[in-house]
């Protein structure tokens, strides 16, 4: 059970890091290429507005959307795909995927703002130089902007990794680790062992293990990402 929760956590964290790097970065990059000043400001505001909604509210909205009686199932029925409807969160096959997809498309929030700032802080001379060399906008993205925001990618990857390893509110509110132990993660397990079973010693041991896992993974992430940054820069 302990090993299973760590396996779930690995999948969850992998997707969490990917999602919180890829989608906000994509949005920020496209937004930079929107030349229309007013429009780009409006789009930026639109992406920031959801930050005002507390995260538990977002999680509960998604829980409603996964509800067996309405939500996505209603949409599927509308599309005449009634056979695909299911009890999303009560199915051991779909529950982990559902938790990963909470918050799709993951753009709004802190990470988007970080990337936005990062892209705008690239010095204009680099763009001019690229244009003189006849770079297309794809080239600009590939050779100017990605290396330019790489430090921010590193920060966001680290932050989201730590967040996904230590946060259990999302899983607790969505499935509470069930059905069975199919979505159990170590942090939630620690909480349940401590406050459900009252075994504080075991829970503390879990906490220590989790802490070391976080430290080691953070160090590895930093190593890997800094290596890549030098290559592409």
């Amino acid at each position: 059970m302990f090993r299973m929760s760590f396996r779930n956590q690995a999948v969850l964290s992998l997707f969490a890091v990917f999602n919180s790097v890829f989608f906000p970065l994509l949005a920020a990059l496209i937004l930079y290429h929107v030349r229309h000043k007013k429009l780009s400001r409006i789009i930026k505001t639109l992406f920031v507005i959801p930050m005002l909604v507390p995260s538990i509210v977002v999680i509960l909205i998604w829980k409603y959307l996964y509800n067996p009686n309405f939500g996505f199932n209603s949409i599927l029925k509308l599309l005449h795909l009634g056979s695909l409807t299911q009890n999303w969160l009560n199915n051991a096959d779909t529950a982990p995927m559902c938790i990963i997809l909470v918050g799709f498309p993951f753009v709004s929030g802190m990470y988007f703002l970080l990337f936005h700032t990062g892209i705008n802080s690239i010095s204009p001379e680099l763009y001019d130089a690229a244009r003189v060399d006849g770079a297309t906008s794809m080239d600009v993205v590939r050779y100017v902007q990605i290396p330019g925001v790489w430090p921010y990618v590193k920060i966001v990857a680290t932050l989201s990794l730590i967040g996904s390893l230590s946060g259990f509110g999302q899983v607790a509110a969505m499935t509470a680790g069930g059905p069975g132990y199919s979505t159990m993660i170590p942090a939630l397990q620690m909480y349940k062992v401590a406050f459900g079973d009252g075994r504080h010693g075991y829970a503390s041991a879990l906490g220590v293990v989790l802490f070391f896992v976080i430290v080691i993974l953070t160090l590895i992430t930093n190593k890997v990402l800094s290596g890549k940054g030098e290559k592409s820069a």
């Binding site: 989608f23 994509l26 949005a27 496209i30 937004l31 290429h33 929107v34 030349r35 789009i43 639109l46 992406f47 959801p50 909604v53 509210v57 977002v58 909205i61 998604w62 409603y64 959307l65 009686n69 309405f70 939500g71 209603s74 949409i75 509308l78 799709f104 498309p105 753009v107 709004s108 763009y127 244009r131 906008s137 794809m138 600009v140 730590i162 390893l165 230590s166 946060g167 259990f168 942090a187 620690m190 909480y191 401590a194 406050f195 504080h200 829970a203 503390s204 906490g207 220590v208 989790l210 802490f211 976080i214 430290v215």
Partner: protein, 178 residues
């Protein structure tokens, strides 16, 4: 890149992606507002449709409930914020301006605490609060908030105090002496 550039395929693809991202970002929130104006039966039978007549009872129920929780939040936030500001400004000044034995060690400890995610400490925190007989009191929330939030604040305050020119502090001291 300039305004008159021909609108290539990548232009359209990127704009479509952007619109897709915006629409999917807002879909849950639109549904939230939509659902908040419908009775439960209508949510099950007609999920996507707009309510023909807004069902305000949901809101009157929510508003009658929300008062006390918000008061709690204000009390806890206000109290912990007050203590945090007091503590952060004083210790930030100490770390930035004073010289005392073990300063580097203490600051290192502070940075080390910052590395530990708060989730991991909830179990010992609960037990400490239990031993202090503070469970089910506001203090059980306020004290951990102070303890965990002040760390980042001290860093900020230290940086701010370090950036201030030394002359200001000297001038303040001289004025005292006169």
């Amino acid at each position: 890149m300039n305004k008159n550039a021909p609108r290539t395929a990548s232009y359209w693809v990127s704009r479509i992606v952007l619109v897709f991202l915006i629409v999917t970002t807002f879909f849950p929130f639109v549904m939230l507002i939509n659902m908040s104006l419908k009775p439960t039966v209508l949510i099950t039978t007609d999920f996507l449709g707009l309510p023909k007549e807004p069902y305000w009872q949901n809101f009157s129920k929510a508003l009658s409930f929300v008062g006390r929780p918000i008061l709690n939040s204000f009390l806890i936030c206000g109290a912990s914020l007050g203590f945090i500001l007091l503590h952060v400004s004083l210790s930030g000044y100490a770390f930035a301006r004073l010289r005392f034995k073990g300063k580097r060690f203490l600051f290192g400890m502070l940075v080390a605490v910052m590395m530990v995610p708060t989730t991991i400490t909830i179990v010992p925190q609960y037990l400490i609060m239990q031993k202090l007989r503070l469970i089910n009191k506001y203090w059980a929330l306020i004290l951990p908030y102070i303890a965990s939030q002040q760390v980042f604040g001290i860093m900020l305050a230290k940086a701010a105090f370090e950036q201030m020119p030394n002359d200001i502090f000297e001038a303040a001291k001289n004025r005292r002496r006169k």
